[in-house]
Amino acid sequence: MKSRLFFKIFATYLILVLLVMAVMEFFLTPKIRETITRGVMERMIGHGRIMALMTLDEMLRKVTELAARSEARITIIDAAGKVLADSSWKDQKMDNHLNRPEVQEARLKGQGTAIRYSRTLQQSMLYVAVAVPEKDHIRGYVRLARSLEEVALSIEHLYRSIYLTLFLITIPSLILAFLFARNIASPVRRLMELTQKIRAGERPPPMMAESDDELGRLTQDINYIIEEQQEKIRVATEEKSKLEAAFDGMVEGVLTLDGDSRIDQFNRGLRKMVGKQRTDILGKTPLEAFRSADLQVAYLHFRETGETVRQEVALGDEKSLILDVNISAIKGYPGNEGKIMMVFHDVTRLKQLERMRMDFVANVTHEIRTPLTAIIGYIETLQQGAVLDREQTDRFLQTAHNNALRLNRLVDDLLTLSNIEMGEIKMQFQTLAVSEVIAEVLKTLAPQAAAKKITLAENFPEDVPPVRADRDRVFQIFLNILDNAVKFTPEGGAIKITTAQRDAETVSVRIADTGIGIPKNDLPRLGERFYRVEKTRSRDSGGTGLGLSIVKHLMAAHGGRVEIDSTPGQGTSVLLFFPVFIPEKENLSQG
């Protein structure tokens, strides 16, 4: 049993017992010694006084007997101090004893005592002298002497029994102490083991209370605390997982910064948003992680003012990601001072749409105003008198007419587009060989191609099945695409058209040119109305900016799709997918 508590209690007991012994030794021993010595002395005085009742002669005769009876050495001295007899020293001559202190005292008071070293016997002796009276003067003295060692011996006897008693008391009391110490220490130790288990994160079963005393109460309390703690942990864990689920489940990106402005937590939403560009952002500062000047400005502003900041920041290469960030302090939890939360909202798509809308309005206005300005200008010129010049009038009217036609075309295109988008256009589906339509379109565009010395290469394998399509619409699709191809291919270039059966249900048409190409960034935006790769590049080519948009929508109406791939400077290739005409399917849908 290695309990410190046990040793402490046990040691306390041990020390207590030892202390009792020490006190006895130091305070009681002198007292006992004195008491015993006095007792012996008084007994000797008693003996002496009894002896003094006898005459000297009687005493002299019975000196040996008297000594034996009183267990003392007896010396009989006459009034002058001369030793008449001595029980121990029978034959030797002894010097005058009148000057002995006990005798002197007896001469004055009738009796005297002294403790001194006897040279005769060479040991400490206890002397008692009693005067022997005769009528009214002292006839002599009787002196009794006992060795102090004898006294010591009897003290020793006494002590032996005292120590024996003490010993007999100590043993059981130590056993009791042992049991008591163990009784306290072992439940405490078990409690300690219990709390250690809890600290280690285990869930020990509650402990039985073995008694009703404080320890028992403590055990009960600890049991209660454990139970309560576990309940609290359960609730907290539940709350935490709820929060985590919300944290990870939300679309917004969230991150928190610790007191050293390093990212200590972020959610799945944020990983999704920036994951492509930034991995392991944990432990970095916002600047290290995102390297955005906008974000840093917002963050520094927040750090300076402490106000919640909301700002749009562009992240990523070529500002491909536009985020709305909300920076605020995490408040209300002690120890959380200086923690900051950033919430990111992806507004890239929103910004794109906004831009698209603004572009659209600006483009429509521009596209309409250009021909209108021309028409107005020529009409005004005519009004101001040019009408008189026949030749000029014709030319001006022609130009005005051309512009009016362009305006008309534009409005037609817009109308077509909006009709397709609203689903109001009726498609006349029929069996159609795409190659026939393409050939027809090429015939229309041949003069322009020839003027730019563009080679037109066709590759129409015979086994390509017919498609299900509206002839007029398909014509428009290929006209738009091939017209673009011719427009944006420099002189001496080539356009290659290939049809192929992609799978059982799809026919593909690839139109590849060697034109100037389209930058990667612009590819996704090509289908937007009025979207131009370069603001200035195609308007001069006479397009309305709606061509590809119409193609995209018409293909969708056919149940097909468009894919455009391009390398700037090398050319563009447009891939169109048409659904194959399947008669059974047609019958089914009609029946």
Partner: protein
């Protein structure tokens, strides 16, 4: 950077601050390049002027970083790694500031270009600008992550920009020979291209410095490809 071993918290904070400022400067410079290319493509003179005006911020931050570095050198007397970091920071700082000035130069040319009709669609210029910008970013990424590999990659990318510059030069030469009216615009574009090429040179130098900072090896005058002649 492992600065946890510093006993002085203040010192550590100061080193981190220099690093943060450097990254901020880098972000500002990248933005300047991005904006100037956007100004070129969209013929947005307004944006070009904004870039020119914003250069003040870059210059201010440049002064600030330099002062901080000098103060650190004087007061803390850094050794080994920290000394390398601070001297590197001073140099990177200088390079970034120069790049900022170059973005201003580009924008001045753009403002002039926009006064005339567009000569040709720009294809290689944005590519150059994008590569140069990403070189700056990656060299600073290498600084943050102590990534020698990435720094070396940046050092090699300089080649691509150089060849694009030459390509643009040849293309513009044909324009000028065909039509003398295009000479002014061609020269302006040429200057922009040349400036972008120099920006990428600076970015390469930054990458060199990062390699030095991490490894302690001076690679400034070494060819980044192994076993190849310059």
């Amino acid at each position: 950077m492992d600065t946890k071993r510093h006993t002085s918290k203040q010192y550590e904070a100061e080193l981190l601050e220099v690093k943060e400022n450097l990254l901020y400067l880098g972000a500002l410079v990248q933005e300047a390049i991005e904006d100037s290319i956007q100004a070129l493509l969209e013929r947005d003179t307004e944006l070009a002027r904004k870039v020119i005006a914003n250069d003040v911020n870059i210059d201010k931050l440049d002064d600030e970083i330099e002062e901080k570095c000098v103060r650190l050198l004087a007061l803390r007397q850094p050794a080994a790694r920290d000394l390398r970091f601070i001297t590197t920071a001073i140099k990177i700082n200088g390079h970034l500031e120069r790049i900022g000035d170059m973005a201003v130069k580009i924008c001045e040319k753009i403002a002039l270009l926009n006064e005339e009709p567009q000569l040709k669609p720009y294809i290689d210029l944005p590519r150059m600008a994008e590569i140069a910008r990403s070189m700056i970013r990656q060299s600073l990424d290498a600084l943050v992550n102590e990534d020698v590999e990435l720094a070396n990659k940046v050092r090699r990318e300089d080649e691509i920009v150089d060849s694009l510059n030459e390509q643009i030069f040849r293309e513009l030469l044909t324009f000028m020979m065909e039509d003398h009216r295009t000479i002014h615009r061609s020269l302006l574009i040429m200057q922009i291209s040349k400036t972008l090429e120099r920006i990428s040179d600076h970015a390469k130098s930054i990458a060199d410095m990062v390699v030095f900072m991490i490894t302690g090896m001076n690679v400034r005058h070494q060819w980044p490809f192994e076993g190849q002649e310059t």
